[in-house]
């Protein structure tokens, strides 16, 4: 399953990158996040209750941020289990300046097994896109709130 999409958010690229790679912000915006524990450099173990409408499941696995090139790009890998299946995916997230806004582009490739993959194929790609949009919308709300932290670092 291939996923491509983009989301344009308010805020300069540096600030957006900071939010998108901030564990606290990720934790707050991952859908139905119940657990988000650091298990290594840029690696977290997480439990999410995610889904679309009535189709929901618990996902347990690891999230890894790698190849971090601030403020341009990083890769995000996800690997784990949900009820009756296995999911593994790698995505590239890149940030482009777009006036005073920032366009976040994501493209990824994933494998999903289990009943969701065999019968839910029709709904999976749009479902992932919908969850991704909710995720970025939530992160967008946190971009401004981090201004004090970056100002402090600059001083």
């Amino acid at each position: 399953m291939k996923i491509d999409g983009s989301y344009t958010m308010n805020g300069p690229r540096e600030q957006v990158y900071e939010t998108l790679s901030d564990p606290q912000a990720l934790r707050g915006c991952l859908p139905g996040c119940e657990r988000f524990e650091e298990i290594g450099e840029g690696r977290w173990e997480t439990t999410l209750k995610a889904g679309v409408a009535g189709i929901r499941g618990e996902f347990t696995g690891t999230v890894t941020l790698a190849d971090q090139k601030p403020p341009e790009s990083y890769t995000l890998s996800v690997e784990g289990n949900f009820k009756g299946g296995f999911v593994k995916g790698v995505g590239n997230i890149s940030l482009e300046e777009n006036g005073d806004k920032t366009t976040v582009k994501y493209s990824g490739d994933g494998q999903v097994s289990g009943p969701l993959a065999s019968v839910g194929q029709r709904l999976m790609t749009p479902g992932v896109k919908m969850v991704a949009n909710q995720f970025f919308r939530c992160l967008e709300g946190k971009v401004g709130s981090q201004a004090p932290a970056s100002a402090e670092r600059g001083a």
Binding site: A53, G54, I55, G84, P115, Q121, R122, L123
Partner: protein, 288 residues
């Protein structure tokens, strides 16, 4: 293929259903005809702890025509619509749409309201509801409210029905004067779902020009959407086959197309134009 455990309630009034939904909050899911929900339960893709089966609520059944509108109870089955002479007289597309949904077993049990509330991106009724400018009636803990079809389909599998609310009926205004309707669908050969489906309503003025028209697309994107650019290109014009073909080229503008193993994004974008043209031609002919 055996669902997980759930508590089961079968209320006999809308009020009782609403209070059960309120009591169980996010744990509860409404069961109507069950032709989308039961397969999800059997595959354990959904496992709501509580099911509120509204199937025995008499007040949700039936199709009535009164005061220039048709009111379809949320529990009317696809077959009820298919065989309703009343409905066929005013909106032939409702009969035509019902006959291309699933198979007779699905049509005998699946419900109109269930299909709308479920908001499947490939469902047929969302396009019809949008094209006919339907109004949804919902009952919740705070009483009744209405939502226009234009505001009802929010996103993939997401309708404006809030937790705790039940979709009770759908009201469709019968246009004045000469009008025609049509639904054109490219069915998936295996599932029968719409790869692309387009519903159209064309209203003619006394001068023979297109007074109003509504075109809605399903199957192509995450939710049913109106083709407003196409509509605008036709309003106030004397309709010809050429003009409709031109206007149909704008259908799907700005839409986020779905792509899958069966039909790519660009193929769906192409189908939208072709089926918009067919639906509009069908509606124009019916209006004359």
């Amino acid at each position: 293929m055996i669902p997980g455990e759930f508590e089961y309630y079968a209320p006999t009034s809308v009020q009782e259903a609403v209070s059960l939904l309120q009591q169980h909050g996010e744990d509860a899911k409404v069961l109507a005809g069950g032709h989308s929900l039961i397969p999800l339960l059997k595959l354990r893709l959904a496992s709501p702890p509580v099911l509120v089966d509204i199937g025995r609520i008499q007040e949700l059944k039936g199709i009535r025509r009164q005061n220039g509108a048709v009111t379809i109870g949320a529990l009317a089955t696809h077959a009820d619509i298919e065989f309703s002479e009343d409905l066929r007289g005013v909106f032939p597309l409702m009969h035509d749409t019902a006959t291309v949904i699933g198979d007779p077993m699905v049509r005998n049990l699946g419900t109109f309201g269930g299909a709308l509330a479920h908001a499947d991106p490939a469902g047929d009724w969302p396009a019809v509801a949008l094209a006919l400018n339907a109004t949804m009636r919902l009952t919740g803990p705070n009483g009744e409210r209405t939502v226009a079809a234009d505001d009802f389909f929010v996103d993939l599998l997401t309708s404006a029905v809030e937790p705790g609310e039940v979709l009770t009926a759908v009201e469709i205004p019968v246009p004045q004067g000469k009008y025609g309707t049509s639904y054109q669908k490219f069915s998936h050969p295996a599932s029968g779902y719409a790869v692309v489906g387009v519903a159209a309503l064309v209203q003619m003025g006394a001068d023979g020009a297109c007074q109003d028209c509504r075109v809605a697309i399903t199957g192509a994107g995450p939710k049913a959407t109106r083709a407003t650019a196409t509509e605008d290109a036709l309003k106030g014009q004397q309709l010809t086959e050429e003009l409709i073909a031109q206007a149909a080229e704008q259908a799907g503008n700005g839409m986020d197309f779905l792509g899958d193993i069966f039909a790519s994004e660009s193929y769906r974008a192409h189908l939208v134009k072709v089926f918009t043209k067919r639906a509009l031609l069908g509606a124009m002919q019916a209006a004359q």
